[in-house]
Amino acid sequence: MIANDMSFFLIFLSAMLVNNILLMRFLGLCPFFGISSSLKASVGMGFAVVFVMVLSTGVSWLVYQVLEFYHMEYLRTAVFILSIAAFVQLVEMFIRKVLPPLYLALGIYLPLITTNCAVLGAAFLANDYKLDFFRSEMYTLGVSVGFFLAIVLFAGIREVVDHAPISKSFKGQPIAFITASLMSLAFMGFKGLFGL
């Protein structure tokens, strides 16, 4: 379990490897299976997730302090999703204006990840662990780098698997799931690391 008395480095590693968001926690699987047939798109998606996740957890942490102040914690689900969606929209407009190269690289992925369950999930999890602001940010950074790592590795493997001779029923998604299963098995090797 991740708690406030852990060091930043441990939080980062635990979120990235031991509890990998895609392979251990099953969050954000739609882009994982949808986009990973191309390595280039996966890298773009990975960067966009790192960017959005770190920012949106910060926003939702601030929003939660307001909710807590007014004792309206039951609004968490609705307020988190709406504030994240609105915030991503704002960021999109901002970088389109100020940083066109970044927009070209990440632009098409930004609206896609607004309703990505990994982004909202990371905000919920950081909130459930009752982390302070900087630990929340560190946790989300770990989570998103873990996402990046897993999706890029997976895309690399998938490009090879696509050319392998496999039976017709297993072509496409089924073999992708089985590949993911083996990757998940490999990531389970990190369990027990640092006694986490």
């Binding site: 251990m24 969050l27 299976f33 609705a78 309703t115 029923s169 089924p174 299963s181």
Partner: protein, 237 residues
Amino acid sequence: MKPLGEIGKGLFKENPILVIMLGLCATLACSTNFSDALGMGLAFSFVIVGSNVVISLVRRLVPGQVRIPVYITVIATLVTVADYVMKAFVPDLSRSLGVFVPLIVVNCIIMGRAEAFASKNGVWRSFLDGLGMGIGFTVVIALIGILRGLMGEGTISLSLLGLKDITVLSDKWYPGVLIFILAPGAFLVIGFLIALHHKIGDLLATAKARKTQSNLRQAATASPTVSGEGASTDDRQ
């Protein structure tokens, strides 16, 4: 379309998990045993039926530009209701499903059905569509739950229904393959299920093609001469 057809399409042809392949997160994470899977399926069904009905009711009142935020608000409200009801009445289930109950809100199937179906159809048809999707989701996730529970521990958990677990494979001679209740097993089971679904779809398609072909042949042989029938039976052999 007939009411039954509306429900039935969610079961096989447009099954939310196996064909549309959305909402995978909940499917994989909440299918460690039958109880959890059933609970997730019911919560999901409640939300999708409710959101389909509400969105279909307000579809003429909502201007096009703000429809997505309105849908999100409706869905988030229903999810919050489901979350708090589960926390109050089945706290154990709520604890084991954890963050995945509030995350129903970003389940793409619900949003997808709201946008593609409920915003264009009447209340009754939207209700049936939601019901069909809910049942299709529940059946598949419960099936995965049963399979993983059986292979992982040899039991079918019924704690949600207030019953004792059924032990199918006694641990005297079946030690249980722990991997199936851990993360890799979820990917493995669903991979094989989708492959099976492909296979069944293929078999049905070839059976159908063969049937129409033989129908055509019969129609062709019935009209001209008797000698044609002998040829067609030769063909079949």
